[in-house]
């Protein structure tokens, strides 16, 4: 398992005061909060920072961590020395989430958290309580939203084993993604959450739909956008051109004098639904390169014969 440098993660010196650590945490938590942050690895960073703070904010855990020494490098292979935690006393209070932390964290502090949860677990066992709902994300391609799909999803969820320790269990579910889903929608899978206690029903599993970025389409709700390169003569004279759609190519009529950057709407060819989205084709006029004498000659001819000033409305 890899050693984690909690001070480096927090961007503070090893000698930092508790106040400095708290301020560093607040700043980083705002920066990497997955609901706010635009950073690609926000979720990972947020968890990492949360784990570092969990240790450094607590003088007991911090002292125990410091005693491992300052000579470790982040990522270095790490095994806790035997009896490393003798002489330290930990108070429980790992308010959930302990299983979200790294193996490194669990190897140092996991035992204490585990026994804490086990106690909580046992005291609840006498009650009838519905199992907790779980939430997870599922990534699909745009085409899956058009046609529907079946996805295998691997989920890792913390569970208490029969000795009362928190273990991470992996399970795989095959789920049907209905046609017509859009970004951010959820699918409810009844009874696939945590098991209930005392004979109460299990919780549900909610899958949030997220689209993989597409190489040619952009998605906005149920509307889909496509940049379509066209030649100057197609735009000027009008033409019928082949256009890809997630349901296969169609023929699109381009009107004479079409401007670049405008939107051509293909009604109902967005993501299907009771009220389906539209597909917007955005023509992008591309110039043929003037890489031959013949091409240059044609451009010169246009220059002489068209007398076109695209900047007239700028007053020059």
């Amino acid at each position: 398992m890899d050693y984690k440098d909690y001070y480096k993660i927090m961007g503070v010196e090893r000698g930092a005061s508790q106040d400095e650590i708290r301020r560093a945490y607040k700043k980083l938590a705002r920066k990497y909060h997955p609901d706010v942050s635009k950073e690609a690895d926000a979720e990972v960073r947020f968890k990492e920072v949360g784990e570092a703070y969990e240790v450094l904010k607590d003088p007991e855990k911090r002292a125990a961590y410091d005693q491992l020494g300052a000579n470790w490098q982040a990522g270095q292979d790490f095994h806790p020395p035997p009896d490393w935690d003798t002489g330290f006393e930990f108070h429980g209070g790992g308010a959930g989430g302990a299983s979200d932390f790294s193996d490194f964290f669990d190897s140092l502090f996991g035992q204490q958290f585990g026994s804490g949860s086990a106690r909580r677990g046992r005291s609840q066992a006498e009650f009838r309580q519905r199992g907790e709902d779980h939430h997870a994300k599922v990534k699909i391609d745009l085409e899956d939203a058009y046609q529907g799909a079946t996805r295998s999803i691997s989920l890792r969820a913390p569970e208490l084993d029969n000795t009362g320790h928190v273990v991470t269990k992996q399970r795989t579910l095959k789920v049907k993604i209905p046609k017509g889903v859009k970004q951010g929608q959820r699918i409810r899978l009844a009874g696939q959450g945590s098991p209930g206690m005392g004979g109460a029903p299990a919780g549900d599993l909610y899958l949030e739909i997220e689209f993989n970025p597409h190489s040619i389409y952009r998605v906005d709700g149920r509307d889909v956008y496509l940049d379509l390169p066209v030649t100057p003569w197609e735009a000027a004279l009008g033409a019928t051109v082949k256009v890809p759609t997630p349901n296969g190519p169609v023929d699109l009529k381009i009107a004479p004098n079409t401007r670049g950057g405008g939107k051509l709407r293909l009604k109902g060819r967005g993501i299907p639904a009771a009220s389906p989205g539209d597909l917007y084709v955005v023509p992008q006029i591309t110039l043929p390169p003037s890489d031959s004498e013949a091409a240059k000659e044609l451009y010169r001819k246009m220059e002489q014969e068209l007398k076109y000033n695209p900047r007239s409305h700028l007053g020059v």
Binding site: A29, K174, R188, Y206, D220
Partner: protein, 106 residues
């Protein structure tokens, strides 16, 4: 081993949630949902007593984000409401950017 394919229920625009369902789905108390309504973070489609409230499905995402922000960043409800409004605005602007619109188109 052949695996069964699970069929879920899609929570779409037609789905409306009661205050009970919403509180359960975002693992928070009914009181918390009422607080979010009073702060204007959530808007029930029917404005009667809380037991008759119906929420649009989009409230689920909003309530979950609100409770995460409040818990993780230790901000109060007014701060959460402000953050959510700003996040909405960013999303609207990004969607326009995404569609290639210019800001003077409107």
């Amino acid at each position: 081993m052949k695996q069964t394919i699970l069929n879920g229920i899609l929570i779409d625009e037609q789905t409306e949630l009661s205050v009970d369902e919403l509180s359960r789905m975002c693992s928070s108390s009914i009181e918390y949902i009422i607080e979010l309504v009073e702060e204007g973070v959530l808007e029930p489609v029917t404005d009667h007593v809380p037991s008759q409230w119906r929420f649009p499905a989009s409230s689920l995402q909003r309530a979950r984000t609100a409770s995460r922000l409040q818990h993780d960043l230790e901000i109060n409800l007014a701060g959460v409401a402000l953050a959510l409004d700003l996040l909405d605005e960013i999303e609207t602007l990004e969607a326009r950017l995404h569609r290639g619109e210019r800001s003077d188109n409107h």
